[in-house]
């Protein structure tokens, strides 16, 4: 039996019964036969399934003035949005990963409130929807907006499923008989199923053990388990239902692996079980008149058993490699959403991807959006009586003007922090310089800005403020002498200052740190390795708190644990370059920027940086195999 597929089918059935209560499903799968089959099945079970328009604006979603009908009728005609559904309906949201944040926020709000609030002319309307969010994002792409993920009850991942099929006989029977069932009655039946505290505690405990802190997840588990039990035709939620619900709701959200073996399901019972009803802190006592609901403490053994069953079920669906990944969950994700070359987006009047037009005057480079302008003018025609001698058909006033808006990718600024201390210089300052020159050429081709910071002795100084000038960058590099201590803390501090200044200008800073990660000069300029490391770590954490991206190229002869530790603290990608030459370094940075894993070293006999390729020419290192 294909357990994951079986679960997916049960999820579809539960969604049809109660789209509103479950809020929907976050379906991660590429476009392909597996997803198609699941969707076909869902639409056959739930004929009301509706597709949301791909790039729906808020007017289409929430409803608004229907311009055509308004003009025709001579009075305001409003059309309801797609989100207003009087009966429980599943809405299909394609390309959910591309959904703009504000649209995701609107969807989240509607799901939360269960009502659509379209505007001042329309009263808020109750709506009953669940979302089927199709997310096709790849591993290294940002998935659907987090706020929306969180609200959807079920998380399905069909990415690694080779083929559909292989469900249980019972499941087949269920799917065949579902269309003839009375779904509202089934939902009612599910909601009224009794729940005892033991089970609720076990659910909370399992969620906790898996590191799922959101209470929405626990609520969705409870809801789903009861629906599954009702679908089975049972009056009682049984282990089978809990297990499946946990696999569909809790497991995909897991952020950590529960402690192994004996401690695994041991409930984190309070020391004195009889004191556990929640006590309101004294500050609130006067106001909080509600006595806490009495929670009889269940026998510990029963609870433990239940929690074990749940946890086991939850873990059953986790592939081994996921467990391994979760075990290392402390590794921070690469910081910064727009990592690397793409930069973050900022609005612009001139270029970029189009955004909805906004009222404004066509000046300072902004271009008039004719359609939006006409749209704005048309409803006001009755107000503006044209003088009789006028031959114009439309009265357009300045306040109707709408201008084009675009979202522009902000330029990236690469900050190179180069360790020129004795230890590093000894190894290969020359190589580092070469690599930077290679990267500079490449950045120049991409129109990135670059900034060079050198550190040695007790100081870190900006050798080259952010610039696009390649010549200046090269000159500043060649003048970089080596020798002295390693004031790493200073270097990070300096980089942080530059990075934040760049960020304020709307650029996307990105740091390339070339160092062996052996600080021996503290922030105060004093010697001493312990203090120096401490300071460097503190600043590294500060860097990370600003969500800036960074890559650490370890230039020491063999991978240096301290450098790793610092890179981790910074949230930087750590790339050891034990056998490096300039070319390899450049490759590593490029790979990280474009989101790939660094390629294997390429044997290059001639140091390429001695004769950098002309700007604009295809750099040699783009094709690791071809060099």
């Amino acid at each position: 039996m294909n357990l994951a597929w079986d679960d997916a089918l049960w999820a579809a059935a539960a969604l049809c019964v109660d789209p509103t209560g479950l809020r929907g499903v976050w379906l991660r799968a590429p476009h392909g036969p597996v997803r198609d089959e699941w969707l076909t099945l869902l639409s056959s079970l739930h004929p009301a399934l509706r597709r949301l328009p791909g790039h729906a604006d808020s007017e289409r979603l929430l409803g608004g003035l229907d311009l055509g009908a308004t003009l025709h009728a001579g009075r305001a005609v409003y059309q309801p949005g797609v989100l207003t559904q009087p009966t429980p309906t599943l809405l299909l949201l394609p390309m959910a990963e591309r959904l703009p944040d504000d649209t995701a926020a609107i969807l989240g709000q509607v799901l939360d409130m269960g009502q659509v609030n379209a505007g001042r002319h329309q009263a808020a309307q109750d709506t009953f929807i669940g979302l089927v969010a199709l997310d096709e994002s790849l591993e290294d792409e940002p998935p659907m907006a987090g706020g929306l993920q969180e609200r959807l009850g079920i998380w399905l991942d069909l990415r690694h499923m080779g083929r559909a099929g292989g469900e249980d006989e019972h499941t087949r029977w269920l799917l065949d008989s579902l269309p003839s069932m009375d779904l509202p009655a089934l939902r009612e039946h599910a909601l009224n199923m009794p729940l005892d505290d033991v089970v609720l505690r076990a659910v909370c405990q399992t969620a906790d053990a898996l590191g799922v802190h959101s209470l929405r997840a626990a609520l969705a588990t409870v809801r789903l388990a009861r629906l599954l039990a009702a679908l089975r035709g049972s009056d009682q939620v049984q282990d089978e239902d809990w297990g499946r619900a946990a696999r569909l709701v809790l497991t995909p959200r897991a952020t950590r692996v529960p402690a192994p073996d004996d401690q695994q399901a041991a409930p984190p019972e309070p020391e004195h079980p009889n004191e556990s009803p929640p006590e309101e802190p004294p500050a609130d006592d006067a106001l909080e008149q509600t006595p806490p609901d009495p929670l009889p403490n269940p026998p510990a053994s029963e609870l433990q058993e239940m929690a074990e069953v749940l946890l086991e079920a939850a873990l059953a669906s986790l592939p081994a490699d996921v467990l391994a990944q979760l075990a290392q969950a402390n590794t921070p994700a690469p910081s910064g959403r727009g990592q690397g070359r793409s930069g973050t987006r900022k609005p612009s009047f001139l270029r970029g991807t189009p955004m909805p037009p906004r009222p404004g005057n066509p000046r300072q480079g902004a271009r008039l959006h004719i359609l939006a302008t006409l749209n704005a003018a048309v409803p006001r025609q009755k107000l503006r009586r044209l003088p009789s001698h006028s031959r114009a058909k439309l009265a357009i006033r300045t306040e109707d003007f709408h201008v084009h808006r675009y979202a522009e990718h902000s330029p990236t600024c690469l900050i190179f922090a180069i360790d020129a201390s004795g230890s590093a210089a000894l190894h290969r300052l020359a190589e580092a310089k070469g690599a930077v020159e290679l990267l500079l050429t490449q950045s120049y081709a991409r129109r990135d800005q670059v900034c060079v910071i050198g550190f040695r002795g007790t100081q870190a100084e900006v050798l080259l403020p952010p610039t696009k000038s390649l010549v200046r960058a090269k000159r500043s590099l060649s003048g970089l002498p080596g020798g002295g201590g390693t004031p790493l803390a200073r270097a990070i501090e300096q980089s942080l200052q530059v990075a934040l200044a760049e960020k304020r200008l709307g650029h996307t800073p990105s740091l390339v740190m070339l160092s062996d990660g052996r600080p021996n000069v503290s922030l105060q300029g004093q010697g001493g390795r312990a203090q120096a490391l401490e300071d460097a770590l503190t600043l590294a954490r500060a860097w990370r708190s600003h969500h800036l991206s960074a890559i650490w190229l370890d230039t020491s002869a063999r991978p240096e644990p301290q450098a790793q530790q610092l890179a981790l603290a910074m949230g930087a990608r750590y790339v050891p370059l034990p056998m490096a030459n300039s070319n390899r370094m450049a490759q590593a940075v490029q790979a990280v920027q474009s989101g790939r894993t660094p390629a294997a070293p390429v044997a290059v006999t001639r140091p390429l940086w001695q004769s950098p390729p002309p700007a604009g020419a295809a750099p040699v290192w783009r094709q690791p195999g071809g060099a």
Partner: protein
Amino acid sequence: MAIPFPFSAIVGQDDMKLAIQIVAVDPKVGGVLALGDRGTGKSTAVRALADLLPPIQVVKGCAYGCDPQSALAACPDCSRWKSGSKVATESKPVPVIDLPLGATEDRVVGALDLEQALSQGVKAFSPGLLAQANRGFLYIDEVNLLEDHLVDLLIDVAASGENVVEREGLSIRHPARFVLVGSGNPEEGELRPQLLDRFGLSVEVRTPQDLDQRVLVIKRRDAFERDPQAFRESYAADNELLRKHILKARKGLEKVQTSDDLLRTCAQLCQKLGTDGLRAELTLMRASRAYAAILGKKSVTTEHLRHIAPLALRHRLRRNPLDDTGSGARVQRALEEVLGA
């Protein structure tokens, strides 16, 4: 209409509940900013806010909810009343207005009333969300994702208490005094310092760590979802009690004494933390006073101050890249230094 979750049924979240009660007692404290992970019940608490507030008296038929006691002619609707004449009033629940993220500028400030324009050819102003929120609360979920031009607008109106509309051939000004309530997840985006400053108190919301509390949350939420109406009714008495308590605290607020020594302590604390401007001191003092009133005390003590300082100051600290400790801890440290351990 969707039925909000009753305030008195919210489990845990003491900071959040306290902050909301404080602004309910004294709206002059300024708004509340709730920061925290998803699924911790921030929005639930804010949307239940209306439970705490006794109804207000407004000028009858006024779209801006003007106070009959205040100067008339403040808004276009009230200017038709002649001075000295008796004004008809009505009682209305305090507005708690939800500002959706995708709201257009039109919707927020108000715009030409299209319906009247189209059908009767009349140029009339249709008030926006700011007008609706006058004398009440404006709630922005995911405030850190709000578009820049809306943020600018809100900062301006929140400071001046007046919405000035000069667009589409309309020229209108009306009072827009509201308490800003925002919630968001700080990991998704930062707030502009100017907007942060408009919030009087900030709270960090976390999921209850205690298992029993979590179970209780789920039980109550489940009961609520099964039958919202019945659930609300079962908490109606508690809500009523809470509302009475708030009313009492409001009455007591004027009588709460603040000694000069305490004011000096406030100032010292803010100086120590290097907060910009005097707003921090003012908010700290007002919030402590409201807290004392809620506890039924006649004067503010350093204990009250100690309790309130993190809420009032946490979000006003300058970011220091060298200091990794949370701003809450920094406030605690300053408290210990100024007040003694």
